[in-house]
């Protein structure tokens, strides 16, 4: 299959599927934007990947089986999202209303010039991560695991460093199988080489996702001021651009290795979790469902072993703040319940592995 077609398939699985799959999880929140359903979709994709991958690792299943299961589950959810969107579309939503939503030449005049400037900077960054390369030796495990799993049609049973079967798998990584997610998405994209997926497609998609998250902050803080939202996004993009002051800060991880789980955690998942926490635990009437909060916890677990610790830390802070503010046992219990995946995985790590 041609390279371009594989790229299109990657776009389908990484942009269209999450956008549609997020819809069923946002139905209580009406109306919601495409950006919100895209983000909710990623929480679902990551959670589904974690829930499907872990048992398959322990059952020693082949990668192709996981790929089929993951593809089926996510496609069905995306299809449900499309059906719900079509079914719930108001009957009166005819050309007049739709026209106001879609792009028209006149609509450009209403877009803030600051937002246009921000989008230009973000596009430059996305083009840079597509065109240029950055070598990071951590790929020796993260990307090589995906390439190895594809080569051997196994999941975490072959040592990525040598190609020989594991005597004992690296217990630190096994509960956060983001490299397997990379392998699965590569397979779904007609076998696009995982290194190409990791070094070209993932950074472009996740960099876009990072700014979608930051835009949610802008929407939250400046709901009625388009210029302010544009300025906020512009400043956030500039701050990332000049993040080379150390190799440890999240901006640096965001700009040079956004294909590794820990980088996705630092620059995408943690800000998204903070946004969700503000919207769920700190609002009297939560703007999103608690299910999404729990899925964010599971997603953090998929991305990195650090996510198993950092996500409940953030969630715990907000649940505690929510308890002080609302003094509600139910809310606190729900919040703690959402932290359960990382608590269970943490216990499993300590007691079993």
């Amino acid at each position: 299959m041609s390279f371009a077609l594989k790229g299109l398939l990657a776009g389908f699985w990484l942009l269209l599927v999450p956008t549609a799959a997020g819809v069923p999880f946002l139905r209580k929140k009406s109306p919601f934007s495409l950006a919100e359903s895209f983000l909710a979709g990623y929480l679902f994709l990551f959670s589904a990947a974690e829930l499907l991958t872990l048992p398959m690792i322990y059952l020693d299943q082949p990668l192709h089986r996981l790929t089929v299961c993951y593809g089926t589950v996510t496609l069905l959810t995306a299809a449900a999202g499309v059906i719900l969107t079509v079914r719930d579309a108001p009957v009166s939503d005819t050309t007049e209303k739709r026209g106001s939503r879609l792009f028209t030449p006149g609509a450009l005049r209403h877009i803030s010039p600051f937002l246009i400037a921000a989008v230009i900077i973000i596009l430059i960054q996305i083009c840079a991560v597509i065109v240029f390369a950055h070598n990071d030796a951590d790929d020796a495990f993260y990307v090589a695991t995906a390439v190895t799993d594809v080569e051997t049609d196994t999941i975490f049973s072959t040592n990525a460093y040598t190609g020989l079967p594991y005597r004992v798998p690296y217990r630190r990584y096994i509960l956060s199988p983001f490299p397997v997610f990379l392998a699965v998405v590569s397979q779904l994209s007609a076998g696009l080489h995982p290194a190409i997926m990791a070094h070209t497609v993932f950074p472009a998609v996740f960099l876009f996702a990072v700014y979608v998250v930051l835009y949610q902050f802008a929407r939250r803080w400046f709901p009625d001021d388009a210029d302010a939202r544009g300025i906020f996004l512009f400043l956030a993009a500039v701050l990332s651009w000049f993040s080379a002051y150390s190799v440890y800060n999240s901006g640096s991880f965001q700009m040079v290795r956004l294909w590794q789980g820990k980088a996705v955690l630092a620059s995408f998942m943690l800000p998204l979790l903070i946004h969700l926490s503000f919207s769920i635990t700190m609002e009297e009437h939560p703007r999103y469902s608690w299910l999404l909060f729990g899925m964010a916890n599971l997603s953090g677990c998929l991305l990195s072993s650090m996510g198993i610790i950092l996500t409940p830390l953030v969630m715990g802070l907000f649940v505690f703040a929510g308890l002080l503010r609302f003094r509600s046992f139910k809310r606190t219990a729900l919040g703690l319940l959402c932290c359960l995946p990382s608590v269970l995985l943490g216990l499993f790590y300590v007691l079993v592995l």
Binding site: P113, F114, V131, F132, A133, H134, N135, A137, D139, A140, V143, A144, T148, E151, N159, A160, Y161, T162, G163, L164, H193, A195, I196, H199, T200, L214, F217, A218, R220, W221, D227, A228, I231, F232, L235, V238, L239, W241, F242, S243, A244, Y245, S246, Y248, N249, S250, G251, M255, V256, K262, L265, A266, L270, I274, M306, I309, L310, L317, F318, A321
Partner: protein, 261 residues
């Protein structure tokens, strides 16, 4: 207690490096606290930031968290700090108060300059280069894999086992996982003593070429890559490794079939 505080300060230093983003963050927080303290957004994000800073700086919580995540990566707690959102929020709040768009644009340029001076350009810090292969691994590694695969196919070799230095070991299997290696990055995955010795020999500051060749053979490698001066290539031939190509500063060797024990 002092040791813990010093260690926390070291981690703080690692995270912020040579930049001034921590001062930008502090300035932004102070601006929000003084001029925008009545806004809900400000209160929420600042309280959260304060809680994260407390977790990071308090020796008691630091010791607990360190025990969970490890000594060397404690700086990752600062990933929880919403540095960019807080700075951008303060900047936006300040600019929002200006009435005209040109004034906003001009001040935005000034802010951009301040940020540029406080940090370091990702694109000018040697972070990126143009790779000659789609997998975006170092060009030498891609070339090594291609040469080795071509030779193996020509000679009907079914399993390639290749050894190389740290750079080669880190990227070969990212490019092509059909190639086996006696060890990976930082000697990980080395199963035999010969593999471990080979790793040390090939990455030694002053490599002993005979030792490399000897242990490569012992470790079961049929291909070997090393940065070898021209006049030392003969040392490898004594152990049955003959030269099949070059990739940058590396010489690529293949083990003669007659030498395979």
């Amino acid at each position: 207690m002092n040791a813990v505080m010093q260690w926390i300060a070291t981690m703080w230093g690692y995270y912020w490096g040579d930049g001034f983003y921590q001062y930008l963050f502090l300035a932004a927080a102070l601006y929000l606290l003084i001029f925008r303290r009545k806004e809900k957004s400000t209160r929420q994000i600042l309280l959260y930031s304060l809680a994260v800073l407390f977790l990071f700086l308090c020796p008691l919580t630091a010791v607990i968290i360190r025990a969970c995540i490890g000594d060397s990566v404690y700086w990752r707690i600062l990933w929880l700090l919403p540095t960019a959102p807080v700075i951008a929020l303060a900047g936006t709040q300040f600019l929002k108060a200006r009435r005209s768009r040109p004034a906003k644009a001009l001040l935005l340029l000034v802010f951009t300059g301040v940020i540029a001076l406080s940090g370091e350009d990702m694109f000018r810090s040697g972070n990126y280069y143009l790779a000659a292969n789609y997998q975006k691994v170092p060009n030498e590694v891609a070339h090594i894999c291609d040469v080795v695969n071509a030779e193996a196919e020509k000679d009907g070799i079914e399993q390639i086992t290749l050894a190389g230095d740290e750079t080669v070991a880190s990227y070969v299997r990212v490019y092509d996982a059909s190639i086996f290696m006696p060890y990976g990055r930082r000697k990980k995955g080395a199963l035999t003593k010969a593999s471990s010795t080979l790793y040390q020999a090939i990455n030694a500051e002053k490599p002993k070429y005979k030792r490399i060749a000897k242990y490569a053979k012992k470790a079961g490698c049929n291909f070997l890559v090393a940065a070898v001066p021209e006049k030392r290539i003969k040392r490898f031939q004594e152990y049955g490794f003959y030269e099949i190509g070059h990739a940058g500063s590396y010489v690529i060797f293949q083990l003669e079939e007659s030498s395979i024990s």
